[in-house]
């Protein structure tokens, strides 16, 4: 296959995966007696009707993309960070505490300082899991999930105790939230009358930064090598353990920053339920975006749309917003399945043949130069040695017989 055909094939597979996910979603909706087409219509078009809808999509895409960028760093470095949710909460706490403690500072100091504190809070939480993995071989999936619980309880404790707005006690309402943060710690709104905030700029800038970090610097090279094959990296003189920890610190920092940005731009005080599952959806966004910033940015917009659309279905199509969770699950499954089709050259070849048969085109017996084929050994168990054939010198004098 040439490049154009490959891109078309990839696009086709992704489209098929989305279609399959929507089909599964449709089955569930039919089961609860909802109007399938109306629901999808609402999810996919309602948010795009006006400027407000579009800005709300972006408001959701900002924390999603930040979390997903962090996840991509961790996954690329061979560590599965499932703990973005907890890291976000720790980031929010650190950000809010810094802002509350230093209200008198001018904005150009307080805002960066408190956002950095948020990143540091997340980095600390992610770093624990990284340290445990690197030094004691503790499975990072277990440790990050458990740290999520601890973070959630710690967050609730602080919001209902030490960090609680004293005003709530005076009036007796007792809402678990902090005081309104000083204006110096706020991110500015970008569009008058909407909630779209300057976090968008931060997310886009960091997406570029992550690309350069991972694919253009020596640090990124080390992290990716450690992630792709730790043994080879270690043998090549890379301190794998150190880079595991660095990756988790960075990954946590992105999640912490996502939380801090969300509070600084939208809520302006720490409240309960703020992470809204962004920490988990961010994992889906990262995978959907191919663990690459160029994929993550559009993917986070798509999921922003889904999340907002799901909220709207509750109102206009009378379908519970939780439906979007079902869709998310279905999307993960179909993406994982689609990868098999995307990366397996054997399946690719089969599909090409099938299409050629349908459209009556001739397929050469040996597609292109034989040397173009180096089947991925991970996918093709038996014939992988066939790669050697690539060298074909063309001479095959059939001696003997």
């Amino acid at each position: 296959m040439n490049r154009a055909a490959k891109v078309a094939y990839g696009g086709f597979v992704v489209a098929a995966a989305i279609f399959a996910a929507m089909f599964v979603g449709a089955l569930v909706m039919m089961a609860i007696g909802a109007d399938v087409f109306r629901t999808y219509w609402v999810i996919l078009t309602e948010p795009l009707q006006d400027l407000f809808g579009v800005t709300e999509i972006l408001v959701r895409a900002i924390p999603l993309s930040l979390v997903a960028l962090g996840i991509a760093i961790a996954f690329r470095s061979g560590i599965l960070n499932i703990g973005a949710e907890g890291q976000m909460l720790m980031g929010i706490l650190a950000y809010a505490a810094t802002a509350i403690a230093l209200p008198g500072l001018p904005k150009f100091i307080l805002l960066p300082l408190s956002l950095l504190a948020g990143a540091a809070g997340g980095a600390l939480w992610g770093g624990i899991a990284g340290f445990l993995k690197a030094r004691l071989q503790v499975n990072e999936i277990l440790s990050t999930v458990m740290l999520n619980y601890i973070a959630a309880q710690f967050y609730t404790f602080l919001l209902r105790g030490p960090l609680m707005d004293p005003g709530e006690l005076v009036t007796g309402t007792g809402t678990p939230q902090t005081i309104r943060l000083p204006k110096g710690a706020w991110l500015d709104r970008l569009v008058e009358g909407t909630r779209l905030h300057a976090g968008l700029v931060i997310a886009l800038a960091l997406a570029v930064a992550v690309f350069f970090l991972l694919w253009r610097t020596t640090v990124g090279f080390r992290m990716r090598a450690a992630g792709a094959e730790a043994k080879a990296a270690r043998y090549a003189g890379i301190g794998v353990e150190r880079y595991l920890i660095i990756a988790m610190l960075l990954s946590g920092a992105f999640a912490g920053l996502a939380g801090a940005v969300e509070v600084a731009g939208v809520h302006r005080r720490a409240i309960e339920g703020i992470s809204g599952g962004y920490g988990f959806t961010g994992i889906v966004v990262a995978l959907f975006g191919g663990l690459h910033p160029a994929g993550i940015i559009p993917a986070s917009a798509v999921f922003g749309l889904l999340l907002l659309g799901a909220d709207m279905t509750q109102r206009s199509a009378n379908v519970p917003a939780n439906m979007v969770l079902v869709l998310q699950g279905a999307i993960i499954l179909s993406i994982v399945a689609a990868r098999q089709f995307m990366n397996n050259p054997y399946v690719q070849d089969k599909v090409t043949r099938r299409f050629a048969k349908w459209f009556g085109k001739r397929v050469p017996t040996v597609p292109e130069a034989a040397e173009a084929a180096c089947p991925d050994p991970a996918d093709v168990a038996g014939p992988c040695t066939a790669g050697e054939d690539g060298q074909g010198d063309g001479k095959n004098p059939a001696e003997g017989r």
């Binding site: 084929a373 066939a386 095959n396």
Partner: protein, 507 residues
Amino acid sequence: MRPEPIRTLELRGITKRFPGVLACDGINLDVPEHSVLALVGENGAGKTTLMNILMGLYQPDEGSILLNGRDVKFRSPNDAFGHGIGMVHQHFMLVPNMTVVENIALGMKETHKTFGLDLKQVRRRILEISERHELPVQPDAFVWQLSVGEQQRVELVKTLCLGARFLILDEPTSELTPQETDELIVLLKKMSDELSIIFISHKLHEVKALSDTVSILRHGRMVFRGNTADHSSSDLAALMTGHEVNLPRNECGDGCGDVLLEIRDLRVRSDRGYMALDGVSLDVRAGEILGVAGVSGNGQRELADTLNGLRRAESGTVLLGGKQLLNRSPRDVIDSGMGYIPEDRNTEGIVPSFSIKENLVLKDFAAGTFSALSFLRLGTIRRNADNLKKRFDIRCPSTDTAAGSLSGGNIQKVILARELARGPKALVAVYPTRGLDMGAEEFIHNQLLERRREGVAILLISEELEEIMNLSDRIAVIYKGRILKIIPGGEATKKGLGMLMAGVMDE
């Protein structure tokens, strides 16, 4: 209900395509009753694909399989078993933490009762088979306790217990010691009185010793078939590679300089905690190849690991050009000029998902040549890859290809290119040609000898006696973590080395 015996097996015009590769191109093959056919060819010639078709793992795109003259179709390995065809794979398909009886019972469906297994019946069958074919096995031993040779026998007994009357052996000797190989050949020779065998190999002396007829595959085509007895090994080698192969030899003697790599009283524990190296001392001079012969598992891995900073030693000294390297980090070792061709080329030698050009700078990407202010210099990295690709004849579509998708020989060339281009003072090469075909082997041997001439101190760890004897100035035999003896390369004989490798001192 004994199914009819397999008198003839024929393959007619078998063609199989993989993406971009014609793996088998109209192959004809026939095996008469009670005969041994050797199927020979380089890596990637299509041998394994052909056998997988015969076992029903793949469906051929064209062609047919005839059994006793009748057309058969194998849709799965079970179909093939059902017709009495059994295969012993190169990598054994045994469950290590089960006993031999349990392993064999896995495949014997008739012993599976609703609640439990009829292990008595399995044991009877095992004893019956092992007696008839003189294949001693211990039914109650756990597979992990057995040596590779014993495991091989279990595989054979298993295949026969499942009712195989036609055996396919995929490179059965690749993991065996020389002695075990000889035993296996005698055994198979006897078994061929009762059944037919297809024997896949690229070791020609085994082919000569065992087979009646030989078929040679090259690039998916059958290029030769004939009686083994009528052709010499070197004829067959030429047919296999398409050109005369002369594995280069080390013309021993002069050239050796001062001691460059000095190993003294090295004591290292294995992963399981016992002393894997128990006081090993070796000297490698500049411009010398020191071969370390031994059956794998006698401390070679630990030796290579320790020399390269990947494993901590209990005590000892490792000096490279007078600089102490014991228990230093891999980075320190690399920076002092040590090159390393690791045993496991797919997971230690390269990062499989990285491109070829990235793998070629795996050790040097942080050096000034390939990065500036910690940003990678992509242009230089690409030019470096293009140069090395030419110099080391790495065959790949482009240097952006994932290294893991290359064939074994080309992966080894990538590793060799990286290690040698760094201009090492010393080189540790572990099983550098394991599983490679003769063309690649020739290339790698030539490269090693060339480095020797340039004054590199080379420590060659191998269990391939021919390789060791062809290349080494001196040969050290390692057994159970000790150096048993060091002999000059010219005085070594296969028999003597084989005895020493088995731990027998002949004085």
